[in-house]
C-alpha cells in the first residue's frame, strides 16, 4: 500500500460486459473476414465472397466463376486465416504473460523469443534451407531462447521477475548480435534481403499448408490457456499470496509460460517477427472489460484476431507494393504506448 497504484479509477471502469464485448467482436471479425477476402488487386464484391463461403459450407447451387473461387480460397483465405490465428495467439499469450509477471509492460518477446526466432530463420536462410526449414529453425530457436532465459535466471539463488527479464535481455542481445553477424556474411544479392524481409515480419508468403500445420496446435493451446484464465488472476497476486490461496505458483507459471511460448513461437515461425500486438491489445481489452482475466483473456483473443487482420489488410492495400506488417504494428504500437505512459497510468517496473 505504500506503492503507487498502477491505474487510476477511470481506467478500470469497464465499458462493456463480457457478453456485449464478445458479441460485438465476433460480428466485427465476421464482417472483416469477408471484406478481407474481397480486398486486393483483383476486387471481388463482398456479396459474392459471402455466397462463395456459404457455398463451401452448404450445398448451394452456384454460378461463381472458378477464377474468383481460386482467388478467394487458394490465394486470400490462407493469409486471412493466418492473420486471425496469429493475432489471437500473440494477444492471448501477451495477456497471459502480463498476468504471470504481474506487469502490464511484458510480452513473450521479453524472454528473447523473437531474437531466437530471427536467429533460427537467418541461420536456415544462410545454409540455403527452403521455407519449411526456415519455419522449423525459427520455431526451435525461439523455444531455445526462452529456455535459455529461464535457465540463466534459475542460476540465481532466488529467481524473480527481474532476474528473468534481465536474462531475457542477455539472451536477446546474444541472438541479435549473431543475427548481425549472419547479415554481415550473407550474400547481399540473394540471402541478405531474405533475412531482412523475414525479420520485418510478413504474412505474404503463407500457404494453406502452413495454416493447416499450425492451426490444430494453436487452437488447442488457445483453449487450454483460456481454461486457465481464473488462475491468471490468482497468479497475478504474486507467489506468496497464490500459495496461501492453495495454488502451486511455480507449476502453474511453468504451464502458462509453456502454452504462451508455444503460441507465440508457432506464430512467429510462419510470419516473422510481429511486435507490439501482445502488448497493445491486452491494454485495449482492459479498457473495454476491466482487468479480470476471466473477461480479459477471451476479449484479448478476439480483439487480437481482428486487429492483426485489419493491419494485414492495410499492409497489402495501402500502397502498390506490400508493406511488412511488423513495421506497421510497431508504428501503431509505439505511439499508443507512449500515450498510455504519458498519461501516467502505468508504472514501469
Amino acid at each position: 500500500m505504500q506503492e503507487t497504484p498502477l491505474y487510476t479509477q477511470r481506467e478500470t471502469k469497464s465499458l462493456l460486459t463480457l457478453g456485449q464485448a464478445v458479441l460485438i467482436l465476433t460480428v466485427l471479425n465476421v464482417i472483416l473476414f469477408i471484406i478481407s477476402l474481397s480486398l486486393g488487386r483483383y476486387k471481388i464484391d463482398p456479396i459474392i465472397v459471402s455466397k462463395a463461403i456459404l457455398g463451401k459450407v452448404f450445398p448451394l447451387k452456384q454460378t461463381i466463376d472458378d477464377t474468383v473461387k481460386t482467388v478467394i480460397f487458394d490465394i486470400r483465405l490462407p493469409r486471412v486465416l493466418a492473420a486471425l490465428l496469429i493475432g489471437a495467439s500473440l494477444s492471448q499469450s501477451g495477456a497471459a504473460y502480463q498476468g504471470i509477471f504481474d506487469n502490464p509492460l511484458v510480452s513473450p518477446f521479453i524472454l528473447g523469443l523473437s531474437s531466437g526466432a530471427g536467429f533460427g530463420a537467418a541461420l536456415a536462410i544462410l545454409i540455403g534451407g527452403n521455407y519449411l526449414v526456415v519455419e522449423l529453425f525459427a520455431f526451435i530457436f525461439s523455444i531455445i531462447a526462452v529456455l535459455l532465459s529461464i535457465f540463466i535466471s534459475r542460476s540465481q539463488k532466488s529467481p524473480n521477475t527481474v532476474t528473468l527479464v534481465l536474462s531475457g535481455f542477455i539472451v536477446s542481445s546474444l541472438f541479435t548480435s549473431l543475427i548481425s553477424f549472419f547479415k554481415y556474411y550473407a550474400d547481399p544479392y540473394t540471402k541478405l534481403p531474405s533475412i531482412v524481409f523475414w525479420l520485418m515480419g510478413s504474412l505474404s508468403q503463407i500457404s494453406m499448408k502452413d495454416v493447416i500445420f499450425i492451426a490444430p496446435i494453436i487452437i488447442v493451446s488457445l483453449i487450454l490457456l483460456y481454461l486457465l484464465r481464473w488462475k491468471l488472476n490468482i497468479l497475478s497476486l504474486g507467489n506468496e499470496e497464490a500459495t496461501l490461496l492453495g495454488e502451486n505458483p511455480a507449476r502453474l507459471r511453468s504451464i502458462i509460460i509453456f502454452l504462451s511460448t508455444l503460441l507465440t513461437s508457432l506464430s512467429v515461425s510462419i510470419s516473422g517477427v510481429i511486435g507490439w500486438v501482445g502488448l497493445v491489445i491486452p491494454h485495449i481489452g482492459r479498457m473495454l472489460v476491466g482487468p479480470d482475466f476471466r473477461k480479459l483473456l477471451p476479449v484479448s483473443t478476439l480483439l487480437g484476431a481482428f486487429y492483426l487482420l485489419l493491419i494485414d489488410d492495410l499492409a497489402r492495400s495501402i500502397s502498390a507494393s506490400e508493406i511488412p506488417i511488423g513495421i506497421l504494428t510497431a508504428l501503431i504500437g509505439t505511439p499508443f504506448f507512449i500515450y498510455l505512459i504519458r498519461r501516467g497510468k502505468y508504472r514501469w517496473s
Binding site: Q2, T4, Q9, L244, L245, G290
Partner: protein, 255 residues
C-alpha cells in the same frame, strides 16, 4: 489447534529462533509481540508453510503441517499479509472472490455459490458498498478489510494476520482489530497475529507471546505477561502501567 514443537529457524548459520515450543488453542486470539527483527513474521511464515524450519514440527489440527496438500492447507489456514503488492486493479469483489480458490478445480471458475459466499463475506465485514470499486483506489483501512473479507470467503478455521494495523490511522486501527474480534466471536476462529503496540495486544488478545531474538521472554494472559519487567526485557524501555477507569494502559516513561 496449532502445536509448535521445538521449532528452529535460520538462514545459513544465523538462527532467527531456536527450540520454540508453544500451543495455540481453538478460538483464541494469540498475539506475538516483539521488537523489529525478532522473527515474528518468520514464525508466521513457518505456520503458513511459506518457509520451512530447520528443525522441529508444527502440528495443525492433529496433523503434521508437512502432510497437508496445498489445497487442504488453503482450506485450513488463511492469511492477511502485512504488505500486499498492488497488482492489476481488480474490483474489491473480485479480490474477495479469489478467496474461494482452494475450493476450485484446476480448470474451473467460481460458481454461483462462490459468488454468494464472497458477497456474504463483504456484508459481514461491512464493505459491501465498496464491491465494485477497484481495490487499488480504496484506503489502507478498506484494503485491510477487503483482505479480511477474502479470509472469510476462504472459510478456514485458522486465520493469520501479520501486523493487521500496520500503516493504518488511529480510527482504522481500532476498526480492524474490533472487526477481527467480532468475527472470532461469531465464527469461533483461531486467530494468530503479530503486533507492535502492547496496548492493543493487551486489549484485544487472549494470550500473548513475547519474543526477542532467539528467546521467549514470556507467554501467557496479556494482563499477567505485559509487566514493566517483561517490557524492559523485550524493548529495553522503562514503562509503567496506568489504571484509568478500570482499564490498564502501558505508558513508556521519559520526558
Amino acid at each position: 489447534m496449532i502445536k509448535i514443537d521445538n521449532l528452529t529457524f535460520g538462514y545459513f548459520d544465523s538462527e532467527i529462533f531456536r527450540n520454540l515450543s508453544f500451543e495455540i488453542n481453538e478460538g483464541e486470539i494469540f498475539t506475538i509481540l516483539g521488537p523489529n527483527g525478532s522473527g515474528k513474521t518468520t514464525l508466521l511464515k513457518c505456520v503458513e508453510r511459506l518457509l520451512s524450519p530447520k528443525g522441529g514440527n508444527i502440528v495443525v489440527s492433529g496433523k503434521d503441517l508437512r502432510d497437508y496438500s496445498l489445497k487442504e492447507l488453503g482450506r485450513t489456514i488463511s492469511s492477511v499479509p502485512q504488505i500486499h503488492k498492488i497488482s492489476f486493479p481488480y474490483t474489491v469483489f473480485d479480490m474477495v472472490l479469489m478467496g474461494r480458490n482452494p475450493y476450485l478445480d484446476f480448470f474451473s471458475l467460481p460458481s454461483e455459490k462462490d459468488v454468494k459466499i464472497a458477497l456474504e463475506a463483504l456484508k459481514e465485514v461491512g464493505i459491501y458498498h465498496l464491491k465494485d470499486m477497484p481495490y487499488t483506489d480504496i484506503s489502507g483501512g478498506e484494503l485491510r478489510l477487503t483482505l479480511i473479507a477474502r479470509v472469510l470467503a476462504q472459510n478456514t478455521s485458522i486465520v493469520i494476520l501479520d501486523e493487521p494495523t500496520a500503516f493504518l490511522d488511529f480510527k482504522n486501527e481500532f476498526l480492524v482489530l474490533n472487526k477481527i474480534r467480532e468475527l472470532r466471536d461469531k465464527k469461533n476462529l483461531t486467530v494468530l497475529m503479530t503486533m507492535h503496540d502492547p496496548n492493543q495486544a493487551l486489549r484485544f488478545s487472549n494470550r500473548v507471546l513475547l519474543i526477542k531474538k532467539r528467546e521467549v521472554v514470556a507467554l501467557g494472559k496479556p494482563g499477567e505477561v505485559l509487566t514493566p519487567d517483561n517490557l524492559r526485557k523485550l524493548y529495553d524501555i522503562e514503562a509503567e502501567l496506568l489504571q484509568i477507569a478500570g482499564n490498564t494502559f502501558i505508558y513508556p516513561k521519559g520526558n
